[in-house]
């Protein structure tokens, strides 16, 4: 009896020790395994997948950051080589829809509405091809782009259209296209950020690039159920895994602090004092810049 109590105490001690050390951990780490087994991803419920999709950044977040940092606009970052008429497979169409969506967000954010009309017509063609054109309010987007009247409304309608397509695809057993679109948006956003940081080194921007480690696993979870579907998916899964490998040694640590609240203009403002800190060497950043460019350039040239 005494022996059992002793063992129980030891088990409890180690149990609590592990839990405590986990809760005190102040570093973001990838889950143990190097890749997500397909069987595990397949177990995800539609709700879990919807949740992951909602999680991923919107096409305008990186563009907004670039504008906030007063980075000059460059047409060179846009995926102009994408020919909407030459996309032969649903895979290519959905992926390009995502890439062009991120470009549209970038153009709209910088009010380059003339160029955005070209991107918009490619989006329209591709969206119609995969039968999601009805979710794009093209006429309103075009009107707002031409008038340059209301940027907020333009951004709302554009982003809302993408959100609707994503929801529709997932609820109609075309989740693979939704995953491709989300990955397309992310890769293009990542391309924008990495190209800009190469030209205009900036700590805030390089931190944002490093912090993408936080959602990389979710992106892989989204695409994992389709990795064995066909060679196109297999290659994309490998690309995403290669990006993840480049992030393996980038560290994200956290400093502790409690949020501070202030009441202002009838609303509440919460300022977070806890911070995330990215520890990324120049070589690590260069590795991410290089792999992102290689993968993105290959994807957009694959018409």
């Amino acid at each position: 009896m005494k022996g059992r109590v002793f063992i129980l105490l030891i088990v409890m001690f180690f149990g609590f020790s592990c839990r405590n050390s986990k809760s005190k951990t102040s570093e973001f780490v990838f889950p143990q395994s190097d890749s997500i087994p397909v069987s595990e991803a397949e177990k995800l419920s539609p709700e879990a997948i919807a949740d992951i999709s909602k999680n991923i950044s919107s096409p305008v977040e990186i563009a907004n950051l670039l504008q906030t940092l007063q980075v000059p606009f460059s047409q060179n970052y846009i995926a102009e080589t994408i020919d909407a008429n030459r996309q032969s497979t649903s895979f290519n169409k959905a992926l390009k829809l995502g890439i062009l969506g991120a470009d549209l967000g970038y153009l709209n954010m910088y009010e380059k509405t003339g160029s955005s009309l070209d991107v918009l017509s490619s989006i329209r063609k591709i969206a119609d091809d995969i039968k999601v054109g009805q979710f794009f309010d093209f006429e309103s987007i075009k009107r707002l782009s031409k008038n340059r009247s209301n940027l907020d409304s333009l951004l709302f309608i554009s982003v809302d259209s993408y959100n609707k397509i994503d929801t529709y695809l997932r609820s109609n057993d075309r989740g693979q296209l939704s995953a491709l679109m989300i990955i397309g948006v992310w890769i293009e956003g990542q391309y924008l950020a990495t190209q800009v940081v190469k030209q205009y080194p900036n700590k805030v921007l390089s931190d944002r690039i490093g912090e993408q480690k936080i959602i990389l696993n979710d992106l892989l979870l989204l695409i994992s159920p389709y990795c064995n579907r066909d060679p196109e998916f297999t290659n994309l899964c490998k690309d995403m895994q290669d990006i993840k490998d480049k992030y393996r040694d980038i560290r994200i640590t956290y400093t502790q602090g409690d949020p501070v609240s202030v009441e202002k203009n009838g609303g509440l403002t919460i300022k977070q004092t806890e911070t995330s800190v990215v520890n990324m060497s120049k070589d690590q950043l260069n590795g991410v810049i290089e792999i992102t460019k290689n993968i993105r350039d290959r994807l957009i040239s694959n018409n």
């Binding site: 949740d51 992951i52 999680n55 709302f156 809302d160 959602i215 202002k264 977070q272």
Partner: protein, 144 residues
């Protein structure tokens, strides 16, 4: 003939409703309510019946929020809601970061600004006050 026309009209109206894909007016209204220079990111449409027992907020979603970004969370109620839409945000360690409902004073804020300094995946929860029945929209925007 009259019957055929009526049937066709009904089919047309329902067809339009089903495939027209017009943005929910409450969502657009709520996005506008977020204010000028608030850049829309996402919306959460919440429809809940009366809670059997009052516990944690019932509608939950995850969202990545990024350091050095100011977010505005705006809550809007549909006219037929019995309760008011409230929000809480917790970080990935389950630590409460903000609540739009002040338990001490009973005050409910229709929007909350959040100056994020810790990038991560946050749990965003919504419910209606006192677990009441209601429908509403939570809009997330970026502000300067």
């Amino acid at each position: 003939m009259k019957k055929i026309i009526t049937t066709l009209t009904i089919l047309f109206i329902f067809g339009f409703m089903a495939f027209g894909q017009v943005t929910d007016p409450l969502v657009s209204k709520c996005a506008i309510n977020a204010g000028t220079n608030a850049k829309y990111l996402k919306d959460f449409r919440i429809q809940l019946g009366k809670a059997a027992i009052q516990s944690d907020l019932r509608y939950r979603a995850n969202m990545s929020l990024w350091k050095n970004t100011k977010y505005r969370f705006t809550m809007c109620n549909a006219d037929n809601s019995k309760g008011q839409l409230i929000l809480t945000i917790k970080d990935d360690t389950n630590k409460l970061i903000l609540s739009s409902f002040d338990k001490k004073t009973g005050k409910i804020y229709s929007f909350v600004d959040f100056e994020c300094q810790r990038s991560g995946i946050y749990q965003i929860s919504y419910d209606f006050t006192n677990g009441q029945q209601g429908s509403g929209v939570g809009v997330v925007s970026m502000i300067k």
